[in-house]
Amino acid sequence: MIAIVDYGAGNIKSLQFALNKLNLASCLTTDVQTIEQSNAIILPGVGAFKDAMETLDHLGLTKTLLEEAANGKPLLGICLGMQLFYEKSFEDGEWEGLGLLQGNVSRISNSVKVPHIGWNTLARLINSPLVKDLSNQDYVYFVHSYAVQDYEQNSLIASTSYGGIIPAIVQQNNIIGMQFHPEKSGKTGLQLLQNFGELIS
């Protein structure tokens, strides 16, 4: 069972529908025990970094996520969920993240329109099981105004280009992040979720 952390208001039903299509069992939850008993966790996310961290703290989930990450449980962060894995964000201030990955989150360069909305290509840097059966330059759907910077180079699986290099897929052991929305990225996105599903059991 994959625990989808239901800590905010956004569209997480689509994520669950996508997992259903792939026959990956999931539940929407904020319950500590359910999360502890799951065999993988997805941290989705829309909205603001600060609010998301505060909500996780308020629900008592920050500690749980850190413990589960330390136990080696696969953890997938999507969009803001991925950004929360990093040490710090400069979104409207300066906020501490979960610190599971080295790096910080800053606004996308003003040389391009922000938010970065739409289909952009994945340039694959590392041949990981996570990107199995994908072709180079496959399109995925992004919607975000902030992106990860100063990250560990060897955690970068795939990037995209928008006002500079934007980390699109990152992985360090059991911690995986996708800056785009796999659940909204057509067949390519479903393949990525399928690949994540294969990493689990």
């Binding site: 289909w119 919607v143 479903l190």
Partner: protein, 258 residues
């Protein structure tokens, strides 16, 4: 080969009334065309990059039917979609996002209550708040914002309103030119360019698509980032794969295998 980069988007728009997709010309003379879920699946398979659903009636009981459709669409397709029509409160936005929509498009309600854009952007993030502007040219070099389905002139300047929307926190702007809507004579390039130059948000052009060339015109640099159309797709006058092939051949980056 076209250099790979952020792709221009093709967005079929489905006006939904009592659970059916309909198409009006200049917002009137509405005709029934299809089942929204079936049409959404068809467009997804054809390579549409996004979809928009407008609930054009939005009475309370019909609202529930509409939310069921939103959920069914989310279940069936894995591309982003926007919901508009009858969005008046943060609670309305919450409901459509929870039903599986990715963005909400706010039009008349934002004019009547601009803080709705701000509240929604703070609560759900700018990326899911689309400001939809129905504009009509009333004098030379003057486009004014119309509301209530294009029936009422607000007296507001459309370009100023777009700037204001950006400041309030909208993440994208739909420019719907009432003059060209349903006429199939091409998008309103002048208005689209003016708004694109006034804000630094992605721009979706709407109203007037009739031929392949209309899409390539409006998707040029400095104009729109996405093109929205309804009847040319609903009636099969333009097939999305043909359109994308055409755009690719005309050096416009689009998602697809060529």
């Amino acid at each position: 080969m076209v250099k790979k980069m952020l792709a221009k988007r093709i967005i079929p728009c489905l006006d939904v009334d009592k659970g059916r997709v309909v198409k009006g010309k200049k917002f009137q003379d509405i005709k029934d065309v299809a089942n929204p879920v079936e049409l959404a699946k068809r467009y997804n398979e054809a390579g549409a990059d996004e979809l928009v659903f407008y609930d054009i009636t939005a009475s309370n009981e019909e609202r529930e039917i509409f939310l069921d459709i939103v959920e069914e669409v989310a279940r069936e397709i894995a591309i982003p979609f926007t919901v508009g029509g009858g969005i008046r409160t943060v609670q309305d936005i919450h409901r459509v996002l929870r039903s599986g929509a990715d963005k909400v498009s706010i039009n008349s309600a934002a004019v009547k209550n601009p803080s709705l854009i701000k509240e929604a952007a703070l609560k759900f993030g700018s990326q899911c708040v689309v400001l939809s502007i129905d504009a009509k040219q009333t004098e030379e070099n003057l486009w004014q914002v119309f509301i209530n389905g294009g029936r009422k002139n607000t007296g507001m300047d459309a370009i100023e309103w777009a700037k204001c929307g950006e400041e309030l926190g909208a993440g994208e702007i739909v420019v719907n030119a009432i003059d060209t809507d349903g006429e199939k004579g091409g998008y309103n390039l002048e208005l689209t360019k003016l708004i694109a130059a006034a804000v630094s948000l992605p721009i979706v052009a709407s109203g007037g698509a009739g031929k392949l060339e209309h899409f390539s015109e409006v998707l040029q640099p400095g104009c729109a980032d996405a093109a929205l159309a309804a009847s040319v797709f609903h009636y099969g006058e333009i097939a999305i794969p043909d359109l994308k092939k055409y755009l690719n051949e005309n050096n416009i980056t689009v998602r697809g295998d060529f």
